[in-house]
């Protein structure tokens, strides 16, 4: 490859994003008297708007024995309220053409509707009602728990990759509550209590514990009166303390061995690293994002090039790092060995370590760093194509207690990371004493 040529291209690559960043779309922020934070971003490309109501509650907040409660609540919200019968909210949203979903994340729960702007008032009235007057009847709960247990079977118990990841996450997160599966452990789903569910709802769905994000073909002048009218009437309530799920300073090296019906043996590795909300220096986080892109976050990354395309140790290998967490995070690697295997799991792990050690000792070339940076910046441009994704990105900041303006400063921040900072961050965070490993061996079907 012609280094000089590609470096020039890469510098040019910053131009489109910098242009966007210089004139970010009009974004407005206000807070209702009851504490509900509202963000409005104007995007007038199409006659469409997305409305996302985010609550700062998720499985990371759940007590042992009550796991899955946040997700159960997300289901039960649609089972009747002062203005809706059971499942009527969903029917109304469907009939007004809303693309609607509800999501439970590790530390947040979100209700998202995308539809024509003239129906925004309907969505606000509906969501304001559901967040304040949901019935949560015990008889509906028993039917819905059966649905949720089927959901768990479908997503996790009968899906070997998901089951392995759930098992490993409980080890990778050693002393913090992200170890709790989002859907909850099955033994807890057998004994969900209606009273505890009501308490969870009453304590967590306070307006002051929520963020409303609107992106689309609307103006502040349209959204603010609607928000005041429907959400403004909700009573101010006390806001729960939100503990930050932080990891031990030295979590120690851990290993899990599993035998599962996987098509080929799997290697999982996770390093305990900070997230944007817990990092002492945010530059650490941006370096980790670039480390992820250089190491295994793209098809042209080091692990894929060396160990998948060239040496063929793995059928697939990927790394992922999510910095938008209220607490500490993971740099997570998942990989499947080639079949027949070139080496055993220990050998494969040693090959991965060699790549990590290289990052820990030698700064990447400027060219390689620019390639990673260009990807992250291009991803930001592509994210603007979807108003839903824009809203999710905006919401992810206030949900973990950070200002949304960081989103618009992202390209500038990334541009400042140097090759030496990449090496230093790798040396500091990608250590054995921060590492959890799972070796998943192939088990025969009849074992």
């Amino acid at each position: 490859m012609d280094t000089l040529c590609s470096r020039m291209l890469l510098f040019l690559g910053l131009a489109p994003f910098m242009t966007l960043a210089a004139t970010p779309p009009p974004t407005h922020q206000f807070t209702l008297e009851n504490g509900l934070q509202v963000l409005v971003r104007e995007d007038h490309r199409a006659p469409l708007v997305t409305s996302q109501l985010w609550f700062k509650v998720g499985p990371a907040d759940e007590a042992p024995g009550q796991t899955g409660l946040s997700h159960v609540l997300e289901h039960m919200l649609f089972k009747g309220s002062s203005k809706t019968c059971a499942d009527e909210a969903s029917r109304i949203l469907e009939s007004i053409g809303a693309e609607e979903s509800a999501f439970t994340y590790a530390d947040a729960t979100s209700y998202q509707q995308t539809l024509a702007p003239r129906y925004l008032g309907v969505v606000f009235e509906l969501m304001a009602d559901l967040m304040s007057t949901a019935h949560l009847h015990a008889d509906d709960l028993s039917t819905e728990m059966a649905v949720i247990r089927e959901e768990r079977h479908l997503r996790t118990d009968d899906n070997v990759n998901a089951a392995v990841l759930e098992h490993f996450s409980a080890l990778a997160h050693f002393a913090n509550s992200y170890r709790t599966p989002v859907i909850g452990w099955m033994h807890d789903l057998q004994q969900v209590d209606a009273g505890e569910l009501r308490h969870w709802y009453e304590s967590r769905y306070a307006p002051g514990n929520a963020v409303l994000v609107i992106v689309g073909d609307v103006t502040l002048a349209q959204v603010q009166p609607l928000a005041e009218r429907y959400f403004g009437v909700l009573a101010k309530r006390s806001v729960p303390r939100l503990p930050s799920p932080v990891e031990l300073k030295v979590p120690g090296e851990r290993q899990l061995t599993l035998h599962r019906e996987v098509p080929a043996a799997q290697l999982l590795m996770a390093f305990n690293v900070p997230g944007l909300a817990t990092a002492k220096d945010p530059r650490t986080v941006h370096a980790l994002r670039l480390i992820n892109a250089i190491l295994g976050g793209a098809n042209g990354a080091r692990l894929q090039q060396k160990l998948m395309f060239t040496d063929r140790v793995f059928n697939r290998i990927d790394t992922v790092y999510n910095q938008m967490t209220r607490g500490d995070s993971l740099l997570l690697l998942t990989a499947e060995l080639a079949d027949p295997p070139l080496t055993d799991l220990a050998g494969a792990q040693a090959r991965v370590w060699a790549q990590i050690d290289a990052l820990r000792t030698t700064p990447p070339s400027q060219e390689e760093l620019e390639r990673a940076r260009t990807q992250l910046i291009a991803q930001q441009v592509y994210a603007s194509d979807s108003i839903q994704q824009q809203a999710r990105q905006l919401a992810s900041y206030p949900t973990i207690g950070l200002p949304w303006r960081l989103l618009d400063e992202d390209a500038e921040t990334l541009a400042k990371v140097t090759p030496e900072q990449i090496r230093d961050a790798a040396a500091l965070w990608l250590t054995r004493e921060r590492l959890g490993v799972a070796h998943v061996h192939k088990a025969a079907a009849n074992e």
Partner: protein, 490 residues
């Protein structure tokens, strides 16, 4: 309308004021939501998108929509080069497809991937029985766009198809095959296809078979590429920040580079069903049993397609369809029901309904689903059901043209099935349907005795299906709450 010489068509989100007014939600009359009564038939400023279409001098069909708000574009190129054209060597199409990006003159696989990464471009490829599809999302800045398009063109037209990469690619395909075969849902659908087309490539995995893959040589791959990656059977779809001249130049650059063999194109395979109509796969480790009901249907361009699409939606589309209402909302037996119309042999469609439930109630659930499907075939939809569907579709059609990705998806469909140049075509057809139209179309094309059904799960002692906890609500009361001692509706 479908003639490409016509070239352009205007697409409006909401074609007429009447269609907008039709969008009023059903619950308006009875709901306690104040806001529903206040929805004004505000004029929605339609997003006026112009679909441009042309053919290149080598007969490649191209569709383009220009959007300039973001400095990016998407390109999708597809070929009639799916696994149905494998011939005697099952896996030949997939091997050729997988080898395309494994090396071009001057770049090996790693260099190809690193080049796209360095340009910030996102590359994706997909193959099914009918087509091989390649897509690229890139920044429109010429410093990014031009090298990205050049590499895409090389991948499609000058792949090395090297002997050296043949073995690794076959390994990957075998791995993909075993990953698929580890999935109960995949196995169940595969069994359905086997029952429907026992002697056709449509019942074989897209990635091929072990023996087929072993037989594929580099010469076969080169011949397949020359024959099926031909310009005249390619389709190019573009959306984004390009001028018409730039889009045309891109389409010419790609089309001119593609092989132009004499047209010795073989028609795609057809299929005839076996006598067997049910099957079971014993998967002892499964917590759930997958249940699939399927029946062949009409091609995408058939006059009855819209009516059968509506029927499928009412039964198994959205989250409040007949099957979901009964099996999830009332009985809590399933998490989801998935209704689809997938591509099938000879250009036909295959209607499928898929769900998963606990092993111990699988027999009762499958029997209930069969009864519900046949009741629907016998009686057709209710007026309320069809009205709800029309409102939903009329209101949600703004979603189809909101983002480049959504526009691209609709445009690729229009290109693939040779539909009129109108993003809103299917919705407009559904809005004109009557209950009788849907019923008559079902009478013409579907039949209670043609369902093929397969279960995949663990055989355990069967429990009778418990009656719904909540008393079923009659249709007339659909928008009212059921009797509820804890709460009195106002």
């Amino acid at each position: 309308m479908n003639s490409l010489s016509l070239l352009t068509g205007f697409v409006l989100i909401c074609l007429t004021a009447a269609a907008c007014a039709d969008g009023q939600p059903a619950q308006k009359r009875t709901s306690r939501l104040q806001s529903l009564g206040e929805v004004k038939a505000l004029e929605i400023k339609p997003r006026a998108l112009k679909i441009r279409g042309w053919k290149t001098r080598n007969d490649t069909k191209v569709l383009f929509v220009r959007t300039t708000d973001l400095p990016m574009f998407d390109i999708h190129v597809s070929f009639a080069a799916g696994s149905a054209r494998d011939g005697d060597r099952s896996g030949l199409a997939a091997t050729t497809f997988s080898l395309l990006n494994e090396g071009v003159p001057g770049k090996d696989l790693s260099a190809v991937m690193a080049t796209f990464d360095g340009l910030g471009a996102q590359w994706d490829m997909e193959i099914d029985h009918d087509r091989a599809m390649f897509s690229l999302r890139s920044l429109s800045d010429p410093a990014k766009r031009l090298p990205a398009i050049s590499l895409l063109t090389q991948i499609l037209s000058e792949p090395l198809l090297s002997e050296e990469r043949l073995a690794p690619v076959k390994h990957e395909l075998r791995a993909a095959l075993s990953a698929e075969q580890a999935e109960a849902g995949y196995q169940a659908l595969q069994r359905v296809k086997t029952l429907l087309a026992p002697d056709s490539p449509y019942s074989l995995p897209v990635y091929g078979t072990e023996s087929g893959l072993s037989a594929v040589t580099r010469a076969h791959v080169e011949d397949f590429h020359r024959r099926y990656y031909a310009a005249r059977h390619a389709q190019i779809t573009l959306v984004g920040d390009l001028t018409v001249a730039q889009a045309q130049a891109i389409s010419l650059q790609i089309s001119d580079a593609l092989p132009t063999p004499p047209d010795a194109f073989l028609a795609s395979a057809t299929a005839s069903p076996s006598a067997l109509q049910t099957g079971h796969l014993e998967l002892a480790q499964q917590q759930q049993t997958h249940i699939v009901f399927a029946q062949t249907s009409v091609p995408r361009r058939h006059a009855d397609h819209a009516a059968l699409y509506a029927a499928g939606q009412i039964l198994g589309g959205g989250s409040n369809n007949r099957l979901m209402n009964e099996l999830r909302h009332k009985r809590g037996r399933v998490y989801d029901v998935y209704g689809a119309n997938i591509n099938w042999a000879g250009g036909a469609g295959l209607v499928t309904f898929t769900l998963q439930t606990g092993n111990s109630v699988s027999a009762g659930t499958a029997a209930l689903v069969r009864d519900m499907l046949n009741e629907f075939l016998r009686d057709g939809p209710t007026t309320l059901e069809l009205e709800h569907l029309k409102r939903r579709l009329a209101n949600r059609n703004v979603l189809d043209s909101a983002s480049n990705r959504q526009i691209l998806a609709r445009l690729v469909e229009i290109n693939r099935y040779d539909l009129p140049l109108d993003l809103d075509y299917t919705v407009q057809q559904v809005l004109r349907l009557t209950v009788a139209d849907v019923k008559n179309a079902m009478d013409r094309h579907l039949s209670a005795d043609r369902w093929v059904s397969v279960t995949a799960g663990a055989t355990v002692e069967q429990q009778p299906l418990p009656e719904p906890e909540a008393a079923p609500v009659s249709e007339a009361d659909e928008s009212m709450c059921r009797a509820d001692t804890g709460f009195v509706a106002s």
